[in-house]
């Protein structure tokens, strides 16, 4: 730029220097003509470059390179590289934004950006799923046009977002969402949606648990109190007195076993991970069979099946009690004359201890809840059989501490199968 003006002036001066003598010594019009021609050449040179720039500026593409002559070239090059930098920067920004948006889309929480009128500006995939939105068609729609629950509309209308809104969605049955509305930037709102279905369910389970414990303990307690009162007020003959006392003893034993099971459960829950003792399955299976036979007292056929050699690694007392519990259940819920099969299978991918019976079976609708504390298929029967309602909960806990799963399959009237599957890491092949 700085050298351009002198050079342009120099060219004009040179033209004048050549033209002047010609005009002075020859015809003056020739001098003028030459001078004009000289200037025109300069003008043509500028015009050519200008038209190049003009053409390029219509579509400033990077692949159509911008080249000029002389002075113009450096200007063009600067312009070109400036454009290139700008485009690269824009591309980088776009990539950054796309990355951010992708991150927002994969968030576990739903995010909806709203303008000052609560119209949808953006929503991520999670929010689409949770609220039934569609980011293609719903941009610019008031959110309450799509999420139409009266509670939600009231919440938005009230403009008081100090507490989250807990929304039970009838749109998707049994979903519970917690909605936060947060002001951000200028006159914009962010709606954050958390799915709290699970927490809600846990809360309910905890409440149920407390209610259940109280109920389970109160029943025998009521019986005890009743008998005590009767015994205090009425004089019975020794035989009758004895009968009442033994009933009372039975009830207090029941309470004891409930409390014992509760303690076991809580100690398993809070205990450190189980040790890696070697549990000799051969003798354990033998013992389980003997226990089953004792409990059955000859009313059932007890079968032992074993496939492959291998022992378990884990905490022996816990495993013994879990297995014994499954066996005892099978014996209890199988009518006389039925068969209880204990099986132990070792395979490269893991091992399985299963108890199969030909008993009364379980309705499939109960199976998912069977390991919940105090869950009972049939309250009366379970208690008659002496159950506390905690057995399977303990079994499941002990097994999961050994990374094992409890799989229950059953058919009403045909029998059930409880299988504990252990991963290969818990199995010591060949008794080693």
């Amino acid at each position: 730029m700085s050298s351009y003006l002198p050079r342009a002036l120099l060219f004009a001066l040179l033209t004048a220097l050549v033209a002047f003598p010609l005009g002075y010594f020859g015809k003056p019009w020739m001098g003028w003509a030459l001078f004009y021609i000289g200037l025109s050449v300069q003008l043509a040179y500028h015009y050519r470059n200008f038209s190049r720039l003009e053409r390029w500026s219509r579509q400033p593409m990077l692949d159509a390179s911008l080249e000029g002559d002389g002075e113009w070239d450096s200007v063009f090059r600067r312009l070109y590289s400036h454009e290139k930098e700008l485009l690269a920067k824009i591309e980088q920004r776009e990539r950054d934004i796309a990355r951010l948006i992708a991150a927002v889309h994969v968030m576990n929480d739903g995010v909806v950006l709203l303008d000052g009128f609560f119209q949808i500006q953006f929503c991520n995939k999670t929010a689409e799923r949770q609220l039934g939105l569609d980011s293609h068609t719903d941009r610019g729609l008031p959110i309450s046009n799509i999420v139409r629950q009266p509670e939600f509309i009231d919440y938005i209308d009230r403009r008081d977002f100090t507490r989250p809104l807990i929304l039970r969605l009838e749109r998707y049955f049994e979903r519970v969402l917690s909605l936060y509305v947060i002001a951000y930037a200028e006159d914009s709102w962010l709606l954050q949606v958390k799915d709290v279905t699970q927490t809600d369910k846990l809360d309910r389970m905890r409440r149920d648990f407390v209610a259940n414990v109280s109920h389970e303990l109160r029943t025998p307690l009521t019986v005890l109190a009743g008998f005590l009162e009767t015994l205090q007020e009425i004089d019975f003959d020794p035989d009758e007195r004895q009968r009442y006392l033994s009933l009372m003893a039975e009830q207090s034993k029941r309470m004891q076993s409930i409390v014992q099971d509760l303690l076991t459960l809580s100690s398993i829950e809070s205990a450190p991970p189980p040790e890696n003792d070697l549990v000799d399955m051969g003798s354990l299976l033998d013992k389980l069979r003997r226990d089953a036979e004792a409990l059955s007292d000859g009313r059932h056929q007890i079968v032992l099946e074993s496939q492959g050699e291998g022992d378990l690694r884990g905490c022996e007392p816990e495993l013994v009690s879990a297995f014994a519990n499954l066996v005892a259940n099978a014996v209890r819920y199988t009518p006389a004359g039925g068969t209880v099969t204990l099986s132990w299978k070792v395979a490269p991918e893991g091992a399985e201890f299963a108890v199969r019976d030909t008993g009364i079976g379980i309705d499939p609708k109960h199976i998912p809840r069977l390991t919940e504390r105090f869950y009972r298929v049939d309250r009366g029967r379970s208690r008659d059989a002496g159950g506390t309602g905690l057995g399977l909960a303990i079994v499941k806990h002990s097994l999961s501490r050994h990374q094992a799963t409890l799989e229950i399959t059953s058919k009403l009237g045909e029998g059930s199968c409880f299988a504990a599957r252990f991963p290969a890491s818990r199995v010591a092949i060949g008794g080693g």
């Binding site: 719903d138 008031p142 309450s144 799509i146 139409r148 009266p150 009838e170 749109r171 049955f173």
Partner: protein, 229 residues
């Protein structure tokens, strides 16, 4: 919005507020129907009261929206698609209000059954399925209206015939029950009332969808045979 378009933007705002009100009313009706299903399946007779209370709000909204429609037509004299929107809305609210009334009928039927000491649950599965299908229709019809999506509206119309078929099969089943055991007649009649109300809710959803198509495409497809659509 720029001031130069003040008049027309005010008009746009009026229209979008009107639409929001319709959808707000729709939300109330959806809640009513869902609560009625709840009452039926879980025997929550308490929700009957809330359905009746919601109905009052629905009625108020219907009147307010009708007023707004009349106002807009008188003051703005809308043309073309705007006019269709206003006309469509005035019909949609009628259908929504009636769907709400049907929900109320369901709730009252449930109360009658429970007060008679019976459990409708033994017919539960069929009715519940029917009711959920009808609720889904209402929801989709309202979504179609919110998005002015004619395709979704057409889906609703197609699905409504499934609901009708299911309704007929439930009726047949109930008739068999009544013939086998005349003691179930009282309960069965109540359940037929409920099933009929559910089926009507599906029909109202279909009507709403037809209006959505009218608003979007300008075609009136009421009372035209399936094939012609």
């Amino acid at each position: 919005m720029p001031d130069s378009q003040h008049v027309s933007s005010q008009f746009d705002e009026d229209l979008s507020r009107l639409r929001s009100h319709v959808l707000q009313m729709g939300g109330l009706v959806e809640t009513q129907v869902a609560a009625a299903i709840d009452a039926y399946t879980n025997g929550e007779v308490a929700s009957v009261k809330s359905i009746v209370e919601t109905d009052r709000r629905v009625n108020e909204l219907e009147k307010a929206i009708d007023d707004d429609c009349a106002h807009i037509i008188a003051k703005r004299q809308p043309t073309a698609s705007d006019l269709r929107l206003v006309l469509g809305i005035s019909k949609i609210v009628t259908d929504l209000e009636r769907a709400g009334d049907e929900a109320k009928k369901i709730a009252k039927g449930v109360r009658r059954i429970y007060e008679g000491g019976h459990l409708p649950a033994q017919y539960g599965v069929g009715i519940r399925h029917l009711a959920e299908a009808a609720l889904n229709l209402v929801r989709q019809a309202l979504d179609a209206f919110a998005r002015l999506d004619a395709e979704q509206a057409k889906t609703v119309i197609r699905l409504d015939s499934d609901v009708d078929v299911e309704f007929k099969s439930i009726i047949r089943q109930l008739i068999t029950h009544m013939m086998e055991d005349p003691r179930t007649i009282t309960t069965s009649i109540d359940i037929i009332t409920i099933a009929r109300a559910i089926e009507r809710i599906g029909d109202h959803a279909k009507n709403v969808s037809e209006q959505v198509i009218y608003v979007v495409e300008g075609r009136d497809i009421r009372h035209i045979k399936e094939a012609a659509k």
